[in-house]
Subunit: 329 residues, 2 copies
């Protein structure tokens, strides 16, 4: 536990130290946000807020995770996880870069994103499948058994990764929202890893995931300094893909993907509301929400941004507690 807690502190301190150095760079590179013209009206004033804050988080995440990476024969797990996160972050970076440079507010084309994501998630799925401590079986919460998916594990794992990363991306859009929620999720994943270590399940990977999640939690917490309402810096896709990738990797490596709908309930809410909105519009030419994803629905209903963040965070805390209970903590 000590190394995880120290990782979290280091990651936070890096955020504090590196932020003020990086922000002028982001400014010089003109990484300002181009607001979607179909977003909430009130967001148009956010035009020009710096974006790509995820770059700062990536530094904090990588440095602190590597410093406290547990030294044993399975050190490749930390490297592999970080590489995978880095690759997803790179996709996010491309997306941001196109938005900023080409001033095309939607970024990468859909098919480009899909190809990148399929490739990366296949790599992760194969890595997990062939890793001696992970394999093709997952834990079933509440009933306390394992479920061996066999070869189906690979498409399942890919689906989880793609779903989590894109849902995290959709969950971004209100100042401080995604970083607050993900702080809670990663701290919970850290506690789950700790619990697994002491109860003898998955011990080999638990140490590494504890440190990885702690590093992400510290970075998210530190990012709030720049991202709390009114945000000075947005994380951009380079941030949201990164956060999503860490959550996906940790849940998959700890073999608890089935807990993700609880842990990352606000990610799910963002995705589902988007799907429902689009589906309903295509089928019935009617909208279900004032605007999708769900947080914009609340925003247009008159809720302040800090209140949405408070609500999403509180709901995440509660669902994370239920997730902990489901594992018998």
């Amino acid at each position: 536990m000590q190394s995880a807690l120290l990782t979290l502190i280091l990651s936070f301190l890096i955020m504090m130290a590196v932020g003020p150095a990086c922000i002028p760079l982001l400014q010089r590179w003109k990484f300002g946000q181009t607001e979607r013209t179909d977003g909430p009206q009130s967001h148009l004033k956010k035009q020009g807020t710096l974006t790509m804050g995820g770059l700062i988080m990536l530094i904090a995440l990588a440095v602190s995770a590597l410093v406290f990476s547990p030294e044993d024969q399975r050190a490749h797990l930390m490297l592999a996880s970080l590489l995978f996160v880095l690759a997803f972050t790179a996709v996010g970076f491309l997306d941001d870069y196109i938005k900023v440079v080409k001033k095309r507010s939607l970024g990468l084309r859909a098919w480009q994103k899909i190809v990148f994501q399929l490739g990366l998630s296949l790599a992760l799925a194969l890595y997990c499948y062939f890793h001696e401590d992970i394999g093709s079986s997952i834990l079933v919460p509440f009933v306390n058994t394992e479920w061996d998916l066999g070869l189906w594990y690979i498409p399942f794992n890919m689906f989880v990764t793609i779903a989590v990363v894109n849902s995290a991306n959709l969950n971004d859009g209100v100042d401080g929202l995604l970083s607050s929620v993900t702080t809670v999720i990663t701290v919970t994943l850290m506690l789950i890893a700790l619990f697994m270590k002491y109860s003898g399940v998955n011990t080999a990977v638990a140490d590494t995931m504890m440190v990885l999640c702690a590093a992400m939690a510290g970075a998210c917490l530190g990012f709030l300094r720049y991202n709390a309402h009114p945000a000075r810096v947005f994380m951009g896709d380079i941030g949201s893909f990164q956060l999503g990738a860490v959550v996906a990797v940790a849940a998959l490596v700890l073999r608890i993907p089935l807990l993700l709908p609880l842990l990352a309930i606000t990610y799910v809410a963002s995705s589902l509301s988007d799907i429902i909105q689009i589906g309903s519009y295509k089928l019935r030419h009617k909208r279900v929400f004032r605007m999708a994803p769900l947080h914009h629905h609340f925003e247009l209903g008159g809720m302040s941004e800090p209140k949405i963040v408070a609500m999403y965070t509180a709901v995440t805390v509660l669902c994370c507690i239920v997730a902990l209970l489901s594992l018998g903590v």
Copy 2:
């Protein structure tokens, strides 16, 4: 751990259910805030916001703590703790009531507060001193020893209680600030109690404190629904005294009052900044801060309320982690 987590959930759910029923009552009783005329200018628009939200928290705290109170021969600890918290909450209520009814924005007179607080804290000090599982020795963090204060324990205990309760009171004043910070503090106290239970220190009291802190954490988290920026309801002194009392009781019963400067670092910052400001003004006729307590200093410096909350919460998280490390978690 399970009962503590369930307590937290129950307490939160009570907040969700009771709030909408209580708020119209607060309105009917005309419990609107009279803003201090010497507070930040920007706060004048908060005139009339409902106050005494602490009443809702008291219901959630008491019900959930009693429902999950551990059943053993030491059940009087939970009752005693709750009675003590209730008594302090009553002082806060009086203070609020005078503010609201007499429209005198400072509430109870100083000597009245001092008499009430001395009496209550003496009662708690004697209870702890004579309790077979608490007694006159406290834990010294980092060096892992105990320190028997003998009879000095009683004034020390009284000082801690009075300091914590009044500091919590001073830490209130920005939307969502005190409830966010206290959520983190009480969750940490819950984890410390858990750790003590499993490592065999203070086992007898740990269960009870875990539930008490969980109940407070759930209430604080739930209160954010009404209190996040822009606040619809303030907690009032009835809330801040209550939160302070729970933190004081838990730290004293778990015998870790020396960790309080770390756990409740923002309480300390609020108090100290107030003392420094007043001292400096009396001695040198100069102000050190733009306005005391410290959060108003940041506010007048142009920081948004949500940003102050994010900063205070992040600092509390980090200091709480250091506190956990100091106990060898």
